[in-house]
């Protein structure tokens, strides 16, 4: 009954994780949760990279995954810094209430 796990299993899983993250980014109002959904998307990409690295039996994919994680850290730090500055000025964390640039 239990069949062996192939590369395709991992790719389908990562596609599903990417879709869940996209739905989170597109539908939620709370900026904190939107940032978390972006982390989900980056994790889906990382699963893909590691899977391909395992499939082709070389390590370049894992190196790229390390770089993706670094960029994710920088993105989270900057995003949360912006969120704090925004909350100090506008007293809201809802993405659709921030419309200063909208005329």
């Amino acid at each position: 009954m239990l069949h062996p796990i192939t590369t395709n299993h991992y790719l389908i899983l990562s596609a599903a994780l990417l879709l869940i993250g996209t739905v989170g980014v597109l539908t939620r109002r709370n900026i904190v949760i939107v940032l978390m959904s972006i982390e989900l998307i980056l994790n889906a990409v990382n699963i893909n990279l590691v899977t391909m690295s395992h499939h082709w039996k070389n390590l370049h994919g894992q190196i790229f995954a390390v770089f993706v994680i670094t960029v994710a850290v920088a993105e989270a730090a900057i995003g949360l810094g912006i969120l704090i500055a925004l909350f100090r000025n506008k007293e809201t964390v809802q993405a659709d209430e921030i419309d200063l640039l909208k005329w």
Binding site: L2, P4, I5, T7, N8, Y10, I12, L13, A15, L17, L19, I20, G21, T22, V23, G24, L26, T27, R28, R29, N30, V32, I33, M36, S37, E39, L40, N43, N46, I47, V50, S53, H54, H55, W56, N58, L59, H60, Q62, I63, A65, V66, F67, I69, T70, V71, V73, A74, A76, A77, I78, L80, G81, L83, I84, A85, F87, V93, Q94, D96
Partner: protein, 169 residues
């Protein structure tokens, strides 16, 4: 056999945690669900013999980024946000778009029956040392310049986040 079992366990952790992350009302609950999801991803790394990334995932993502998220959730007052509407006006459009992308992926998968990946090479050069040793070799020889560039990026991110979160800029 055992690999199959653990793959499904970690998949359920990953996808269940992800779905809980985007549906919970409270941001703290979302963050804790995201920790579960990231743990599942770490397990998947371990199943694919990526031990270094497994350790990095737990130390950096769960120990670093998630603590940062929880700190900000505590700093920012989210009580009002919890009582308001959770989904924006375009939620239906977002769902339809995602469903379209999902349909396209399913169509691509079922059309050929396989993803059409070529067979992996049978035997490459003899690999010496563990995963971390090989990664370090590659990172500090072939990828030295990107490595230094990314350290500059982190420096900019540190300075930038301090500047952004400061009280009187």
């Amino acid at each position: 056999m055992l690999d199959t079992f653990f793959f499904y366990v970690f998949s359920v952790l990953t996808l269940g945690g992800a779905i809980a992350t985007i549906t919970r009302r409270s941001a703290v609950h979302s963050a804790l669900s995201l920790v579960v999801s990231l743990l599942g991803v770490a397990g998947l790394y371990l199943l694919q013999r990526a031990e270094f990334l497994f350790a990095v995932q737990i130390i950096l993502y769960i120990g670093g980024i998630m603590v940062l998220f929880l700190f900000v959730i505590m700093l920012v007052n989210l009580d009002d946000a919890e009582r308001q509407k959770q989904f924006n006006r375009q939620w239906l459009l977002g769902l339809v778009t995602s469903a379209l992308v999902c349909a396209q992926m399913v169509w691509m998968l079922t059309k050929g029956g396989t993803l059409g990946l070529p067979e992996p090479p049978q035997s490459t050069s003899v690999q010496t040392g563990g995963n971390i040793e090989q990664l370090a070799d590659l990172l500090f020889r072939e990828y030295l310049l990107p490595f230094e560039a990314v350290s500059l990026l982190l420096l900019v991110a540190i300075v930038g986040s301090v500047m952004l979160a400061r009280k009187n800029p």
